[in-house]
């Protein structure tokens, strides 16, 4: 009999499973279980009820009196697979009348699934091995990490933060560093920082994966090791500020690292830093960028970190740009479909979710869709191209760089 070990479920999570009222408010707005496909088990309510049923049959009063009940292995595997169809976008947290912190619940549920040998999914294993062996999820050599900076290193004034003291450490992130289609995100960020005269540097080839993918897929121990390596490098570089252009890295370093080790520097997202510098006059967007732009709130930046206004302030400061909102914006913004390991394990599902978001953008009347997360950028851009949409996908730093 498969005996479930619930010692990896948080005390708070177990409490929250009982606090679910089964109202179903979460089911309609859930991008994976309610919108892109109607599968109850993928919805927050479905997952909660099924897992609760399983562990109560082994730990509840009835189990104590009459003995624990066997949970069929196939049912457990079904739950595990469905649990990974969630992008952990946090829309359910926003709508839950019982105020359940579902983001924490889903990440913890995955940790529990890993601990009970029901996860990770085979599709995630190569990424996990790549992070553990190469320090990035793309199976790229460490020596190529800083390649993106070669052409602009001198112009932008990028320092090696492990050799020279810098005020700001730019944490590039694996996707912008390695993916040739996203590389401009790092290039433009560095250009903007350079033009503003910021004393900044990177960890170069010594930067490691932030561990976000490991944490989101439930491999907490592995993520801890990855995080500790980065924290050690942060200590060595000792910057005042760590800035990231990736929403996933931002969430991980800002929210997850303090649970693992001490990060002395202030952790900010590039949109916060640039927005501040626009207000203080260090960055002066002067050149016009014509067009109607709409901003897609990345889940890791918005719902997970409540950072909604800074990107909008930046866009509003660029001459010629008209900011229009999608019907669902800020807290209510739809997910792009790429998060939580969904794009890797369930690419079709990710694209269906992404298509809904692109349609949102089309309806807004915008001709430019912008965001501040490499995963959202990658996912939305691919859908725009596949759909033949009139929208142009641009990273927010690309717009700032074009205007300064």
């Amino acid at each position: 009999m498969k005996k479930l070990d619930i010692s990896k479920l948080d005390v708070l999570a177990l409490m929250r499973y009982d606090a679910c009222t089964r109202c179903g408010e979460c089911t309609t707005t859930c991008p994976t279980g309610g919108e892109a496909q109607e599968v109850e088990l993928v919805t927050p309510r479905g997952k909660i009820l099924r897992l609760r049923e399983f562990y109560k049959s082994q730990y509840g009063l009835r189990a104590r009196l009459l003995g624990p009940k066997e949970v069929p292995e196939a049912d457990l595997k079904d739950l595990a697979s469905r649990a990974y169809e969630c992008t952990i976008c946090g829309q359910c947290k926003t709508v839950c009348p019982a105020h359940l912190d579902t983001i924490e619940m889903w990440e913890n549920m995955r940790e529990f699934l890993v601990e009970n040998k029901l996860a990770p999914l085979p599709a995630h294993e190569s990424i996990i091995k790549s992070i553990e062996n190469y320090d990035n999820p793309w199976m790229q050599p460490r020596t190529q990490r800083s390649r993106w900076a070669r052409k602009i290193e001198k112009d932008a004034g990028i320092k090696d933060a492990l050799k020279e003291q810098v005020e700001v450490l730019y944490f590039v992130g694996c996707t912008a560093a390695y993916d040739p289609n996203i590389r401009d995100m790092a290039v433009n960020t560095a250009k903007v920082l350079g033009k503003a005269g910021v004393d900044f540097g990177t960890l170069g080839n010594d930067e490691g994966c932030c561990g976000s993918t490991l944490l989101r897929t439930g491999l907490v121990e592995s993520a801890r090791k990855t995080a500790l390596r980065n924290i050690e490098r942060f200590e060595k570089a000792s910057p005042s500020v760590i800035v990231t252009s990736c929403a996933g890295c931002y969430k991980t370093i800002r929210q997850d690292y303090p649970r693992i080790g001490k990060v002395d520097a202030k952790v900010v997202h590039i949109t916060q830093l640039v927005s501040e510098m626009i207000v203080s006059g260090k960055i002066k967007p002067g050149k016009g960028v014509e067009g109607k732009v709409t901003f897609h709130d990345p889940c890791h930046l918005g719902r997970h970190n409540k950072l909604y206004e800074e990107p909008r302030k930046i866009l509003e400061s660029i001459p010629g740009l008209e900011l229009v909102e999608m019907e669902r914006n800020r807290e209510e913004a739809r997910c792009c479909g790429a998060g939580g390991g969904v794009k890797t394990a369930f690419p079709d599902l990710a694209q269906r979710i992404s298509a809904l978001r692109v349609e949102d953008a089309e309806r807004s009347g915008a001709d430019i869709l912008t965001t501040s997360c490499p995963f959202c950028y990658q996912s939305l851009k691919a859908t725009i191209e596949a759909k033949g949409s009139r929208l142009r996908m641009m990273d927010i730093m690309e717009l700032v760089a074009a205007s300064t």
Partner: protein, 304 residues
């Protein structure tokens, strides 16, 4: 293998727990119940024994649900030891300066359901009627029992006393009507309209029907009492406005079955209490606790 303190933790938890249960059982069994209208004492005794068993089941079920929480990550020691420590912390919290803030959170998020109000006015009202009705009825029950059986407060006992008319008659009917209205909306929504988000499985149907039967049964019983001229139901009956309305369509002969109906209603109410920890109704306990703990944790993170 159980850890070193396991037995000690168990005795520290279970001895006071079962001691408290015995005290509650004694109070239930020994109260005078002079104003209970049932005529056959055997019915009253049967009800009281059922109530004691059901209250005990409620507490044991709740305890074991909470002990499941204590198996989780974040605490050390046996589940019983963890619960004792958490209880100690909770008590210290209750008597700390943060209590007022926590009560505000409780009223805003757990009782008033602030977030649901913004998303669906109908569902918010429906839930507020049921939950508000239930909470006030529970409080009213405590006040009335204390006034009747401990204080022997005359205005609560005499047929034309203000407390009897406004709290026992009008008050109970009002909160009962609130619950009945909320439950009616819930039942129509769940069984007739069936919106997409509603998923009806046995536990959902059972909870709503059980509550509905108990609340409606109370009014039917009151109607039978008034129609049949049962003592306590003969004067100023219009204060029990809904029971009075039911009495208008109830034959006088129904009074002959009043005792049996009283017992059925009483036993069903007791069974409902016992059912709470094993049903979706347990969220009445878990949700406010989860909301409070989350709020407490986030304040600790913010350093407040």
């Amino acid at each position: 293998m159980p850890e070193g303190r396991y037995l000690k933790d168990k005795s520290w938890l279970y001895v006071p727990f079962f001691g408290a249960l015995l005290v509650i059982a004694a109070v239930i069994l020994l109260l005078p119940y002079e104003t209970v209208y049932v005529r056959d004492e055997a019915y009253l005794d049967f009800f009281l024994v059922t109530m004691v068993l059901c209250v005990a089941t409620f507490f044991i079920g709740t305890l074991y649900n909470v002990l499941i929480w204590m198996h989780g990550k974040g605490l050390t020691g046996s589940p019983e030891g963890r619960l004792l420590r958490v209880t100690g912390k909770a008590l210290r919290f209750v008597f700390s300066g943060r209590l007022v803030k926590s009560l505000a959170v409780f009223f805003r998020d757990a009782l008033y359901l602030s977030r649901l109000k913004d998303r669906s006015a109908t569902r918010w009202l429906m839930h507020l009627l049921v939950l508000g009705g239930f909470a006030i009825m529970f409080l009213l029950d405590l006040v009335v029992t204390f006034a009747l059986d401990f204080l022997r407060y005359e205005p609560m006992m005499s047929e034309d006393g203000w407390a009897k008319l406004w709290l026992r008659d009008f008050g109970f009917d009002l909160v009962g009507a609130m619950m009945l209205a909320g439950l009616s909306v819930a039942a129509v929504r769940r069984f007739a309209l069936r919106p997409k988000i509603v998923r009806t499985e046995l536990p959902d149907a059972a909870s709503i029907l059980f509550l509905f039967a108990v609340v409606l049964g109370g009014f039917v019983l009151e109607g039978m009492g008034i129609a049949g001229g049962i003592p306590g139901h003969t004067e100023n009956v219009e204060y029990s406005f809904l029971g009075y309305a039911f009495s208008l369509v109830t034959p006088e002969s129904a009074g002959d079955y009043y005792d049996a109906a009283w017992l059925v209603h009483g036993v069903m109410s007791a069974l409902l209490i016992a059912y709470i920890p094993f049903s979706k109704l347990f969220h009445m306990i878990a949700t406010p606790i989860a909301i409070e703990v989350d709020e407490m944790m986030s304040r600790e993170v913010k350093g407040e």
